[in-house]
Symmetry: C3
């Protein structure tokens, strides 16, 4: 890959690009954007998208957007000003990340997602396509969100009192799951596809239904396929692609951390 | 903001721009588009997107698209030819508005929505992200649609007999709600998240479930948060951000209307 | 329509364009893309989008992407390298088609969909907006997928054992339907909106609910509208727009095939 900047790209003089950055054609980099080393920004992106005040106030200053090192932002992504995103981030086509999003390292966000901002997302989070992360959400490490899952924040819509969802480390949120405002999904829990979760979920719970009920401990879930046998959860002992324990296993990695 | 048109923008000679319009780079304005005063069109938009016949018929004439005054169309939006949109409209990234959409003033449409056209949307409607408004829908004033809600139109898919949903003033449609073809949601009603509504909803009803049932009158819903007490609905007496009664309250505004 | 290529378009020398192709402004055509005769590619598209290895490996060669004849790709579409798409394809705005997608002729894909790749889609398939087709899906001829429907592939997420959904000819998948990993939906079946289908569906079944249950044979469903009477399914005897039997009826068309 030849690194550099396409002629058709519009980059503000007030943006700061690291070493070896690649920026695709028809991409716009606004004021006050900082992009780390070795990061790729694809075509047709808007990076540092101004807040609405930009269009109303001549004195508007774009709040800083920080994109880390070694990240890959695919075509057609919009990232608002005013966020702080970690290293090794991947974001796919059509996704929008709004302001006041704080994100850790090694996260992946799929296609056509909406991250509404004013939220915190820690390390190694996997957000599949078409997910909506509502305002004020708090997402732990190694969390998985599947398509059409949503984190709500308003018990009495429309209101001025938004309370975000909290998802603890290693939890898995199935496709089409609805997480109600302010609930906490405990660590390692599994929320089944299409479940409507209205109350706090104790850690290591399997929740299913509308409304969702706890049907078992995650240790009770057996793998369901012809090639492997045994128990499915916690998933970190059987899945490692893209995880920091890839190639060595979770136990060894934990030992190495000490 | 310096008003004007980016060099990279492609604007048809057959388009008409009002005073003080701003058009972002890589945006295309097709024939027969009229844009009102003080309106901003962001980057990477297609405004006046031709109907399919454009590609089949050399004599094709793009039907008129009217975008009102003081509107804000964010990056990556596609608006088809053949619609009439009001003043003070806001549309966010990745949303598509198809032909024969008639929209009032002061509407907001979120990210990655699909407005299928042949529909009517009155004033001050709030459509959150990832919503699908089906063909032939009729949406009243001050209606709220939350993410992944859908307005269906075909009882026997696929068929040639589409019947749209009608939503009356002040109704609230929760996230992931499915509104079946041809039903009417009465004024001020609240459709809970994930509800599947198969029949007409009397005004001021709270509907929940799959299929949805009326669980109470909206007057029975208490606010659910630590900061405020009292009853939640009708919402217009406790919520005013962006509404015409902002700063004076709904009662005073109603008096002023007379 | 004047055929040709916009000045603002970036086309690789390693791409091959058929006769009478039209390519919109701000569209990128990558290496090793072949586009058939009379096909239109709209503005702001990425065609032959490279796989991730493009950004990691200097020796990367873009796998071939074949787009057939007489196709219409609307603005803002991303199609990855490494797929083989048939003739008369229509794809709408914001949709992404990933690698290893094999598609037949005369398919239509709506707005903001995600086709995850490694899947097979036969002829005359209709995918409405905001649909997610998971990895390893197999979709037959004349299948309909409505908005927010999803084809899952992982019983124990996250895992390394993906098993795709199979949908047989003429089946209809309602809006917000969840099809669980590895199931087969039998020919001519109708999956109601919002249904969660966890087991194989026998052909000609009507399935409804969470979890979905078989409520009747498709022959038992009467048309529900004021203009027509009679039975609704199989739909091919009463619906023909865009189908190969348009104007002659299904029976005649079947006779002509012999």
């Amino acid at each position: 890959m030849k690194r550099g900047v396409s002629r058709a790209t519009l980059i503000s003089d007030g943006a700061s690009l690291g070493e070896n950055v690649l920026i695709g054609p028809h991409t716009i980099i606004y004021d006050n954007v900082s992009i780390g080393d070795n990061t790729v920004i694809g075509p047709n992106c808007c990076i540092g998208e101004p807040l609405n005040a930009f269009y109303e106030d001549d004195e508007y200053v774009n709040p800083p957007l920080i994109i880390g090192n070694n990240s890959l932002i695919r075509s057609g992504v919009t990232i608002y000003a005013g966020s702080d995103l970690g290293d090794y981030l991947e974001v796919y086509h059509g996704t929008v990340i709004r302001d006041e999003t704080i994100m850790g390292d090694h996260c992946k966000i799929g296609i056509n997602c909406v991250i509404q901002g004013h939220c915190t997302i820690l390390d190694y989070v996997r957000i599949h396509s078409l997910v909506e992360v509502g305002l004020k959400s708090k997402i732990g490490n190694f969390v998985w969100l599947y398509p059409y899952s949503i984190l709500l924040n308003d018990w009495n819509p429309p209101s001025n009192t938004l309370v975000g969802v909290t998802i603890e480390d290693f939890a898995i949120i199935g496709s089409h799951a609805i997480l109600y405002p302010g609930i906490t999904v405990g660590a390692d829990s599994l929320i089944g596809a299409g479940s409507h979760v209205r109350e706090d979920v104790p850690k290591e719970s399997v929740m299913v239904g509308q409304p969702a009920r706890r049907i078992c401990h995650i240790w009770d879930v057996k793998l369901r396929n012809e090639h492997t046998r045994g128990y499915a959860y916690p998933w970190r002992f059987r899945f490692e692609r893209g995880m920091p324990w890839e190639g060595i296993g979770y136990d060894q990695w934990m030992k190495d951390q000490k």
